[in-house]
Amino acid sequence: MAEPWPEALVEPEGGWDAIVVGAGPAGLAAATLLAQHGARALVLDEQPEPGGQIYRGIERARQRPEAGLLGKDYFHGAALVQAFRESGAAYLPETGVWNMTRGVRLHASRMGESRELRARALILAVGAIERPVPLPGWTLPGVMTAGAVQILLKSAMLRADMPLVIAGSGPLLYLLARQCYAAGAPITGLLDTSSRENLWHALKHLPRALRGKGPSYLMKGIGMMLGLRRAGIPVFRAVSNIELRGHDRVEAVGFDAGGKRHLLPAGIVALHEGVIPHQNAARLIGCDQVWDRLQHVFRPVTDEWRLTSIPGVFMAGDAAGIVGARGAEHQGRIAALGVLRDLGRLEVAQAEQLAGKERRELLGHAAVRPFLDRLYPPSRQVLRPADAATACRCEEVTVGAVRELAGRGYGANQIKAELRCGMGPCQGRLCGPTVTAIISAARGAAPEAADYYSIRPPLKPLAMSELASLPAGRD
């Protein structure tokens, strides 16, 4: 096996100008541009292959003609990854960053060994996670995120071959349904949780959505809906009260639709209620956060160069607010231009001019977002989950237990201390948003920045032996 930490990558001559965390569209675009301008850039990524979740397995896709069913948008990633490979940027896959401090210093783990790395600038491009969907029974084996089912398709050409139920709302849900249908998966139902009123709220944002690249996004959406109808997939609309049933694995999905209760057999259930920024890294380093009312999430504050409230720390892509894969690329380049300007590798005027072009492109991709955000807000079952549902999967804490403490005025960290929710290996990634929603509902107010767990290192569980083997710190 290869050396986990080649010395030239831990302490390169002259030091790293920038470390980019994440090899999705934002990180790849940022690193490529940095390297093209002669900056020493290192990309650290948890995945074995570049591309992020959106372009999983893209470098192998050419050898797989059957991957064509993933659609044209997926193959856009091939050129992005190729440009990155040719740029000269350094790259360490299967590397997990577990600590970050101002300066910029970070600690990362690779093949069971950790090292401290330093850079003049940091670009966090850690992407999105799927919004947790705390339904009764969501911990049963066979219940997965829609993204997980799609990742199995992209990275391993695996399709569900048991009754597949797809439930929730949002563009990814319909895209997944279409891809699974094309792959021959037996879809027994598409349960759409979006309510009819959403459309009315969304309509006033339609004019803006018709600007820029908006129409192409809308046409794709309409095409997907029509395709599903033609395929004869049973679609249930305005679905509520979803319950996942089974003993050692999911066997059926119960739900309300059209004024009555339904029960569908299921072997695999894909859940999706939109994507949210993966916020732990930004919180760990201490970036200021704001509550985004439209996307029902916290996001870090960034300026027009993608700089956060922490000097030298930039953010690009979905990790700083959902912009989608194409928007993420432009944000990645804007962040890179900000770094190049700060390093003195680009004249201010030149950086401004190049960034202006990226910002215009970004606006084109962002035009459709306010419409989509209103059309597909998180469902009531996510914002006001059932008492019996599990909030924290790791420590097995129910929504009811969290709600009781929230009703007594407890904040997120007090609830964590009392119930242990958020203390398991996932470090609150899958219960934090639920706890925030419960507190918000209990107070009848929008969440404050404080209504989230304090995130401390390590960002990922680490064996004590690995911590002990960390080479002595440098100053």
Partner: protein, 104 residues
Amino acid sequence: MFARLEAGPGDEHDEAITLTVDGVPVAARHGDTVAAVLFASGRLAVRMSAVSGSPRAPYCMMGVCFECLVTIDGRAGVQACMTAAASGMDVRTAQGGGHGRALA
């Protein structure tokens, strides 16, 4: 559970990797993660939850949920979804004596 798509004409995939899962040899493709191999070999639950001991299976496939923790080559609490499958790897789920708990 999950099945591979039929290969298209010119598909260069071959099941060139062999690893063992709970002591049983399993074929895998280049580029598979360990979690994908577990699904492809008909497995679903890989570990027991920490408090109630109920079965859990990979949920997010992208390193977020930590539901896919297994023991790989003696190292406990490894995320199967973030690990590339390699020849000769010894993967243990809870059924095979593996530890699905992270050693924090």
